[in-house]
């Protein structure tokens, strides 16, 4: 496999919180166009691993490469701009904004973002605004969400869709999704699944944290298993499901 096929790579990544090794020496790589799952019991360091990839805090040790570029010291917003999208476990919609404004907030409007020059760019701004609004309306239509509903008044599942829709507004090559399927009904699950499958068709990559392995085994091929901050196994999802000791060790069933 050539280097260009790797979208993301971590080398010996470690992070401790007051002595507790939340992520311990994790080396991993992710190939373009695939969907990966990160599985493991609660407290295995899966979310911390994501936060390191996003740059929400610096690792104690190790390096992160995104598209062959060392991003270990890059700020979290610059990493997002490079094309890493994130869905939070606690969703984090902009609750006092309308659904459509939630999406528009993720666009980078190069005229309308600068308060010094806005008055001189009203025409250009209007054109770009309309383009963005159309794009947002299309995404929300796919999700069957009323664009003018305030995010706080949407259901849990709809909020998740809005949060996903936000990521789709900006250019993303890699999505880090923290439990995208948890707590939502089958219809929405299928909607999100189809979305992710579509997303990877153009060579984009998805990494998701999920507990319901049997549901994701339909469309996710590869799994990283985390236990106690360590990456214990990496392999094909059906092999891992078949390996009795892994299943026992992880889920105790």
């Amino acid at each position: 496999m050539s280097e260009e096929q790797i979208i993301l790579m971590t080398r010996c990544l470690s992070k401790s919180f007051s002595g507790l090794k939340a992520v311990n020496n994790v080396t991993s790589y992710f190939i373009k166009g695939r969907i990966y799952a990160i599985a493991g019991p609660n407290g295995a360091g899966k979310t911390t691993f994501f936060n390191l990839l996003n740059g929400f805090f610096p690792p104690d040790k190790g390096e992160i490469f995104f598209n062959q570029e060392n991003v270990t010291k890059t700020s979290p917003w610059d990493r997002s701009r490079l094309g890493i999208g994130r869905l939070f476990q606690d969703i984090r919609v902009f609750s006092n904004l309308k659904a459509v404004d939630n999406l528009l907030c993720f666009e980078d409007n190069r005229f309308s973002r600068n308060p010094f020059t806005i008055p001189f760019h009203t025409l250009k701004t209007r054109r770009i605004d309309n383009e963005h609004k159309e794009k947002a309306a299309k995404i929300l239509e796919r999700f069957k969400i009323n664009p003018h509903t305030y995010a706080k008044n949407l259901s849990y599942g709809q909020q998740k869709l809005v949060a996903l829709g936000r990521i789709l507004m900006k250019e993303s090559y890699l999505l880090l999704l923290d439990e995208p399927f948890a707590g939502i009904h089958t219809g929405f699950r299928k909607m999100i699944r189809d979305l992710l499958v579509d997303f990877t068709k153009n060579g984009n990559t998805v990494i998701l944290i999920e507990h319901d392995i049997s549901f994701i085994s339909e469309f996710v091929e590869w799994v990283y298993l985390f236990v106690g901050g360590k990456r214990v196994t990496f392999g094909k999802i059906d092999e891992i499901l078949r390996s009795e000791e892994v299943v026992k060790g992880i889920w105790g069933i």
């Binding site: 979290p76 902009f94 609750s95 404004d101 701004t125």
Partner: protein
């Protein structure tokens, strides 16, 4: 008539102050107590440039605004590292620093004696010395500022600020730096307060540091809190209320000594009641928590 005009001019000046503080406070959800300092820097710079260098009012105002931008940038850069309550305390600190510079740099500002005899603005031989002409000048500038803030209100810039207010971590994952937009809002907000100061100095013709102390910061904060933040209606109604209410109280026939105290008590009570029953203010959009 003159009495009415003088109230209208004060409404124009306070409207600019309220709108500018609202840009920062209402959209980012952070409370700043440095606003009177920026008001003062604008007023002093304009007054001193007009008197010492004999510059035209409009040029002085522009330079005053630019200086306020610059100082707001420095203060914003240093204080926006802190969050919420700590940020309020740090802005309080800067308010006191600016006040004590105005008070103690006697060579430049004449300290507590203030700057006296500030000339009226003039443009191409026309002097805005009559109240009605100054009303047109201040009203025109206030209207321009109102339109500017209206454009901002609809812009992506303000949408980003609202996003940061609601959820900073989520905003980061959009690929934009919250610190950058907060600092930008702080700078614009400060510069606009500088414009209000530039109007205030030649109107009053006499400025002292005490006009730009913490009390003034709190007064502007009250306008935004009582009127409401996060849109333009809030600061507008807040300004009308806070400027007109004390004038209306004069007609109650209270003795002069009691009137001033009554005003403070009424403001205080009103603020307490509003925060309890209507935390978003009269017409505001955002609830401070």
């Amino acid at each position: 008539m003159n009495y009415l005009l003088s109230i209208l001019i004060m409404i124009n000046i306070y409207l600019i102050l309220a709108l500018s503080l609202n840009l920062f406070m209402g959209y980012t959800g952070l409370i700043s107590l440095t606003h009177a300092a920026f008001f003062g820097i604008g007023a002093y710079t304009t007054a001193l440039l007009m008197m010492q260098l004999k510059l035209n009012f409009f040029l002085s105002m522009l330079l005053g605004m630019i200086l306020t931008f610059f100082i707001a940038y420095l203060i914003g850069k240093l204080s926006l590292v802190f969050k919420e309550e700590l940020f309020v305390l740090v802005t309080l600190g800067f308010q006191m620093i600016v006040f004590s510079i105005l008070y103690n740099w006697t060579k430049l500002t004449r300290g507590p004696y203030g700057v006296i005899g500030i000339p009226k603005p003039s443009l191409g031989g026309f002097e805005f010395s009559e109240l009605w002409s100054f009303f047109i000048l201040s009203g025109g500038i206030a209207a321009i500022m109102f339109i500017y803030f209206k454009i901002l209100d609809k812009s992506a810039f303000c949408l980003y600020l609202k996003g940061i207010r609601d959820n900073e971590l989520a905003f980061i994952s959009s690929g934009k730096s919250p610190a950058y937009y907060k600092a930008l809002a702080f700078v614009i907000s400060g510069g606009a307060a500088g414009i209000a100061g530039a109007l205030y100095a030649p109107y009053i013709t006499y400025i002292v540091p005490a006009s730009f102390n913490l009390d003034m910061s709190i007064f502007i904060l009250c306008i935004v809190m009582i009127g409401g933040a996060g849109n333009l209606r809030g600061p507008l109604i807040g300004t009308l209320f806070m400027v007109i209410a004390p004038e209306a109280l004069k007609f109650l026939g209270l003795p002069d000594a009691a009137a001033a105290n009554m005003r403070q008590i009424i403001y205080g009570l009103l603020l307490v009641l509003l925060m309890r029953y209507r935390p978003q203010g009269l017409l505001g959009e955002y609830k401070f928590e």
